[in-house]
Structures are given as C-alpha cells and as structure tokens.
C-alpha cells in the first residue's frame, strides 16, 4: 500500500503537516497545496524539518498555489517536485489511497 498525503495548511497556522509527518509511513508521498505550500519554502523555521523528512517521503508542491502567493519557485526547498493539477491527479492515481490532513 502506498498513500498520497495532502496537506493544505501552513505549518505556522496548524499542526496538519506535523501530524502528517508523524503518522505517514516512510515511503509515502506528501503533496503540499493551498496554504500548505508555505512549508515548501526555504529559510523558514520548518525548512530543516522538511529537508530531514525528505529522507522518508517524496515531497510535491502545487505550483499554481506557490505562484498565486508570490512565493517564487526558485525559493523552494531543493528536491521538492513542483506539480500542477494534472500532476495532482497523476499522484492520486499512482498511490493506493489519498489521505487529506484536514
């Protein structure tokens, strides 16, 4: 079984990402979208945590949400793959289930 985890909240606002990192099985994928994209940025107090977690998880970030917020794809943590909604759909099909961390 492989699960795609989605996180749509900023780690500065909610514990969704933290809970996801805590409970997702190593080898899972994590898609950051909506305000969740904030966690994908370099130089935040969460960046190191994400970089560490990249040993266990594949990270994806919703490009359109990054762009909408003016965050700049060049400022994303290295190794996080940028996807669009097509990519989101593909990720959903490539995994066995999708868990939204609401």
């Amino acid at each position: 079984m492989s699960v795609l985890h989605t996180v749509n909240k900023s780690p500065f606002e909610r514990n969704a990402l933290e809970s996801c990192l805590r409970l997702a099985k190593a080898g899972s994928s994590i898609l950051l979208f909506e305000d969740g994209v904030i966690a994908a940025m370099q130089n935040t107090k969460f960046s190191e945590r994400i970089a560490q977690a990249m040993h266990d998880f594949s990270f994806y970030v919703m490009g359109p949400d990054v762009k909408a917020r003016g965050l700049g794809e060049d400022k994303l943590i290295n190794g996080i793959q940028v996807v669009d909604y097509n990519g989101f759909v593909d990720l959903a099909t490539e995994h066995d289930a999708v868990q939204s961390w609401l």
Partner: protein, 130 residues
Amino acid sequence: MKFGIVINEGPYTHQSSDSALQFVKAAIEKGHDIFRVFFYHDGVNNGTRLGVPPQDDRNLTKEWSELAEKHGLDLVVCVAAAQRRGILDEDEMGRHGKNAHNLAPGFRISGLGQLIEAGIQTDRLVTFGD
C-alpha cells in the same frame, strides 16, 4: 480511473471548492471518470443558486453547475448538512413547509449513504476541506 470527490467547505471562505474544481477539470481532461462529487459540512453551501459574487470574481456554484451539465457530473449535497444550513430543493421546501428553495442546477440532495457508496465504488476518494 474512477474518482470520488468530497468537498467539506463552502465557497470563497476556503480554497477547497476551487482546488476541487481544478482537480476535477484536470481529471476529466485526462480521461478519468468522476463518479460523484459529494458536498458535506459547509460544503453544501456550494449548492446555493442565490450567491451573487462580484462580476470580476469567479462564480463557483455556476462553474460546478456548468461542469456538471457538460460532463454529466453527479453533484450530491448531503441532506442532513443541507437542512441545517438552509440549502433546499423543491421537495425539501415542501417537506419542511418553507416558501423558497435554492438548490442550483446540476446539484441534487441526497443522503450520506451516497458518500459511503462513492467510497465503495471509486478507485480513489479525494477530500478537499479546511
């Protein structure tokens, strides 16, 4: 692949309906089948036809209605959640002695069993919420 979509928040306050709409459009474009879109919690508010967003803004309800018409989407609003929040179709209006109904075209009101059925019948259930 067969997808079920769950939307748990109303339009505008949260991005969930927008994200779901983009996801559904992309999935259809890729040739996937959207078995059902289920609106729950405040998500039922996506089903009111009485919203009048500013002209330079998107009209999410209208977009869902149009997408449903174009692709035969099954847009289901949870009856229990809808009753609480004042989303009624004509039947519900009659049943509860109200003098108006507001369910937008392309949406239908039904029970929570439709959500469970979507979970059983689809390959993937994707939830959008707060």
